[in-house]
Amino acid sequence: MGLLDKVSSWLGNRPRVTAPVLVLGLDRAGKTSLLHALRPPDPTAQGAQQGAPQGVAPQMEHFQSGGVAFSAWDVSGAARARALWERHYRRAHALIFVVDAADHLRLVVAREELELVLAHPDMSARRVPLLVLANKSDVPGALPPDQLAGALGLARVVDRPWHVAAASARSGAGLADGIAWLARQVRDMHTPPKIQH
């Protein structure tokens, strides 16, 4: 956590920027679980944890980090629902791409889908920061972040900031760091006009 984040957290928990963020990834990569892990603990919603909804309709989640309030669109990653992703590109200010780091076989599919996302006109024209969450990094056989970045061909992504964070939805490890990076990027991008005055 940078100094600015700390200052912002001292100044009170009020976020200055709100950012719609699009959460993409193949089916069973762990998108919904990750978002559940990110959500502020809610004592009333105990039972909502088990059994992630497999519906096609995107789910909305809210969380905040480093002075940015994220409203995350959790979009289905099933093969037949992937064509619907592009409907959300236009309004996304940040992109979280969730990858199952232990599923070596489908890394190529994830890479292909990520390339399609980044090449879409609605995406390629804007500098949307990309956070790749290497989920299930605690599973034996999972790829470390640097190898994952190589496997996903991220070295070729030069037109936008990107970051790979090893994470685990089950333990919650690594999530906060990744989201803090994203919050910093979003804040830099949206330097609020109020401060400039």
């Binding site: 193949l26 089916d27 069973r28 093969a79 037949r80 992937r82 064509a83 599923d103 070596h104 076989l105 489908r106 890394l107 190529v108 599919v109 890479r111 292909e112 889908e113 056989g141």
Partner: protein
């Protein structure tokens, strides 16, 4: 062509996964019923490494298991359809027995039934092993009688003896002291088939083909033979079997044999028949699920398609020697491709005769399999032969690939009915056109007549022109003979009022008496409604027909029971709109007493 499909290449394992396997030894199984398909691979082993059953999850080998013998086939099937779902069992075939693994633990060993020797042969052998008879003359007479026995029922020992020279025979007989025992028949191929339903978890049965040309269907719970059949009249050795259909409903078993022919075995046949013969040795067959046509790759570098009746439909010459073949069903495009691997290292994908795609795999693809692996539904697994060591390559087809290229539309075949109709249309085009025009004119005339009639009789129930927003509705209450007809006149227009309206009842005076046949409607404000209750009495003749008692009360009173209500507007000649009320018949119990008396007179 290459832009049509996109295959994503995954080389399996950083260290070489050394494999030595056969096409039948690959199976994609949902081992733990968690929708995570694993690849089961029977490895023949090499050198000091024995045969093993290896399990791959995704691209990683998760476990392996030592097998007692060289595996011939690995097949998985469900045993029952009870809930909760039991795990699938794995059947691994060895030379003459099948090991059944449940939960990856050995659960049952099935041995093929042994065959009895003919008594004739045993008699001869009893004489032969007797040292007294072991001289060239008697031995040759006995071998002559052995030769008279058909070779296919001879034991291996007899066959060996017959292939020797006389000196060798004598030497051999000195060492032999026991009667020949018929060794267990060898399994050549195994496949599985569903019993009752095509459901993914439907219970299945095992089909075993033996060296002797027998095909045995085994029940999956007790491993009792459900049926046994000979492949053909003459002895044929099955080599690859493809089962389509359901055991309890109807099935076809298409069997490639080593004798350059493909045999067919259907439900309740005790003996199969030869479907067709090929000019050269068969390398692999596949059966298209849609129409049961059979695809064959042969050693003469051809890919041929035969109909389910065994008629040759087409044949293609391949550039190189074909090595293996598998079906690639692409469900989201609704077609089944046939993948043919060539010795040049190419894998061609054919849709019928047309080549749709080519993959270059650098090596000879000796074993191929397409199906779901892990989470990915379309995985093409290719085992390549590279200098005696094999590597496993999985090709993942981009399942959401939106464009499959400019492939021709899938147009269904023209049916006979369609063809006949089109021929008729071509022959009698003028007559059909004239007839159609006549009917069209007649329809138009009828529509015009009806409209004209409605206009003349002022039968329109909806107003026209400026008075369109005025609505008229009527409801009838009562049992009779006096009814109350409530008319409601409504102005649905939002901003205009109506003046000078009147309602006129139009009924036959012999049937109904209306107390107030003409009602003047006052000003009708916008969006308002006025109700006018009116008494209408059914009139009976002095001489009443007794049929009146038998009219149904709920039914309608017939032609005479129609009362017309006309809405009139000052200064207009015709009515604005008209409504017809069907009056219900009077309840016979409500008839006036004197009328009932009158009907009594009528009868007398």
């Amino acid at each position: 062509m290459s832009s049509m499909t996109r295959w994503l290449d995954v080389e399996v394992g950083t260290d070489d996964v050394e494999l030595n396997t056969l096409p039948g030894n690959l199976s994609l199984v949902d081992l733990h019923n968690d929708n995570e398909y694993r690849l089961l691979l029977g490895d023949l082993g090499r050198g000091e490494e024995g045969p093993r059953l290896r399990i791959f999850q995704g691209v990683r080998q998760v476990s392996d298991m030592i097998l007692p013998d060289l595996p011939l086939a690995v097949v998985s099937l469900y045993t029952n359809e009870s809930q909760p779902m039991s795990l699938p069992i794995i059947a691994v075939a060895f030379s003459s027995c099948i090991y059944i693994y449940r939960n990856m633990k050995l659960f049952y060993k099935y041995y093929l039934p042994s065959v009895e020797l003919s008594t004739n042969e045993t008699e001869i052998w009893k004489q032969l092993i007797d040292p007294v008879n072991q001289n060239p003359v008697t031995v040759s007479t006995y071998t002559e009688s052995l030769r008279s026995i058909p070779e296919k029922i001879l034991s291996l020992q007899s066959r060996n003896l017959l292939s020797m020279t006389v000196d060798q025979q004598l030497e051999y007989l000195e060492h032999v002291s026991s009667l020949p025992v018929m060794d267990l028949p060898d399994i050549t191929c195994v496949t599985s088939m569903k019993m009752n339903s095509v459901d993914r978890y439907g219970a299945g049965c095992l089909i075993v083909g033996t060296e002797e040309g027998d095909v045995i269907v085994l029940e999956s719970q007790t491993f009792a033979p459900l049926s046994q059949a000979k492949l053909c009249v003459v002895r044929k050795t099955p080599y690859q079997m493809v089962a389509t259909g359901l055991f309890n409903v109807d099935y076809r078993l298409t069997v490639a044999t080593r004798e350059k022919s493909v045999c067919l075995l259907k439900r309740e046949w005790s003996e199969g028949r030869v479907l067709f013969s090929t000019p050269e040795h068969i390398i692999a067959i596949e059966v298209m699920p849609a129409d049961n046509s059979v695809l064959v790759i042969c050693a003469d570098n051809t890919l041929a398609c035969y109909s389910k009746k065994g008629k040759k439909q087409w044949s293609l010459n391949l550039e190189h020697r074909p090595v293996s073949m598998t079906l690639v069903p692409v469900s989201h495009l609704g077609l089944t491709l046939a993948a043919v691997a060539l010795a040049s290292g190419h894998v061609h994908l054919y849709d019928g005769k047309a080549r749709r795609d080519t993959i270059f795999v650098r090596d000879v693809a000796s074993v191929m399999k397409f199906g779901q692996l892990g989470q990915e539904e379309h995985v093409f697994i290719i085992v390549t032969a590279r200098r005696r060591t094999s590597t496993l390559t999985a090709w993942v087809v981009e399942s959401s690939a939106p464009t499959f290229g400019h492939k021709p539309w899938l147009i269904p075949k023209k049916s006979k009915l369609f063809l006949e109709q089109s021929v008729r249309e071509r022959e009698n085009a003028v007559g059909m056109h004239v007839l159609f025009q006549q009917e069209l004119t007649r329809l138009r005339l009828m529509a015009a007549k009806t409209l004209c009639e409605a206009h003349l009789k002022s039968d329109n129930s909806v107003g026209a022109g400026a008075l369109e927003p005025v609505r008229l509705a009527a409801e009838v209450e009562g049992l009779g003979p006096v009814f109350r007809v409530t008319l409601s006149v409504e102005n649905t227009c939002a901003d205009k009022a109506v003046v000078g309206l009147a309602v006129l009842f139009h009924a036959h005076t012999a049937n109904y008496k209306v107390s107030q046949p003409y009602i003047k409607v006052p000003l009708l404000a916008p969006n308002s409604k006025l109700r006018f209750p009116t008494k209408v009495e059914e009139v009976f003749d002095a001489e009443l027909n007794p049929d009146i008692f038998f009219r149904s009360v709920t039914g309608q009173g017939g032609e005479r029971a129609l009362v017309k209500v006309l809405l009139l507007k000052e200064g207009r000649r015709g009515p604005v709109l008209a409504a017809t009320i069907q009056m219900p018949p009077t309840d016979p119990m409500m008839l006036p007493y004197d009328k009932i008396q009158a009907t009594a007179d009528f009868g007398s």
